[in-house]
């Protein structure tokens, strides 16, 4: 059954925030991030005749993550520097100190891409381990181990104690 526009909008309402939170920590540009989410939905809308509503959310996640990976590759290729330097993050956390945001950004960037994706999905997507595993096409055990490693490395980089 073909995808209807109201189903697409409902999915957008459900996933906008989690997608934004995950993708923002990958791209670090608010507008870029929202454009990318819209691009993902537009791509899905373009082939709506073949999209099943039951798998829509998973398809959105897969498409958005692929687009984000492509964007990061493109940036690396052209040595593109982002401009907004985590301003929304600092504003949201109430921090005036941009150094902390930069530090966090560096710590996340230092993580292996696969671990970073698992960590961000586990933190913000609202998906369970098995769902993340299916989304990334990896075993559930790998999701858990990557997440554990990523948290440990992030805490280490940020100088946070385990009991914090």
């Amino acid at each position: 059954m073909a995808l209807r526009e109201d189903a697409l909008h409902a999915s957008y309402r459900r996933l906008e925030k989690p997608l934004y939170n995950v993708l923002y920590r990958m791209l670090w540009q608010a507008e870029d991030c929202q454009d990318l989410i819209h691009d993902a939905y537009l791509r899905i809308w373009a082939r709506r005749a073949k999209v099943d509503v039951d798998t829509l959310d998973r398809l959105v996640w897969t498409t958005a993550l692929n687009l984000a990976r492509n964007r990061l590759r493109w940036r690396r290729l052209w040595r593109f520097g982002s401009l907004d330097e985590g301003a929304p993050l600092a504003a949201a956390s109430g921090e005036s100190d941009f150094l902390a945001v930069r530090c966090l950004r560096r710590a996340l960037a230092a993580l292996p891409a696969a671990s970073r994706e698992v960590l961000l999905l586990a933190e913000f997507s609202g998906l369970r381990g098995a769902e993340i595993a299916a989304l990334l096409d990896i075993p559930a055990g790998t999701v858990a181990s990557r997440k554990h490693q990523a948290i440990a490395r992030l805490k280490q980089s940020m100088g946070v104690n385990d009991d914090a």
Binding site: E16, W45, A92, E123
Partner: protein, 121 residues
């Protein structure tokens, strides 16, 4: 339960995201429809032109061939100029080889239809 809430606070996406998405979908659909309309018009013009381009050379070539053949035949069928004092009126004469020097053979055809001889059917 999120484990890194203090490190990774949850952010609110920019407002009006859904409205912008709706607008982009509407624009894309409109562009898509315009694209299809342009394509249909282009095809409607291009296909007959292509068909003509493919089919027209054959009749033209046939006509040219027929014309050249007719011209050649006419030239060949021109009556020999009556160099030996013969004059043909209301018709044409074609000199034919007779095989003898002193015998001249002509095929003569009148331009007016022959009247049937009296008594013939």
């Amino acid at each position: 339960m999120r484990e890194l809430q203090h490190l990774l606070p949850e952010l609110e996406p920019p407002r009006g995201g859904l409205a912008r998405l709706r607008q982009r979908i509407a624009e894309t659909d409109s562009r898509h429809r315009r694209g299809w309309r342009t394509l249909r018009w282009s095809l409607a013009v291009a296909v007959p032109l292509l068909v003509l381009a493919a089919l027209l050379p054959a009749p033209v070539q046939r006509w040219q061939h027929t014309h050249a053949l007719t011209r050649e035949l006419r030239a060949a069928m021109q009556p020999a100029a009556p160099s030996n004092g013969l004059r043909v009126e209301n018709g044409a004469a074609l000199s034919l080889p007779s095989g003898q020097v002193h015998v001249h053979l002509y095929l003569v055809q009148g331009t007016t239809p022959l009247q049937p001889a009296p008594g013939s059917r």
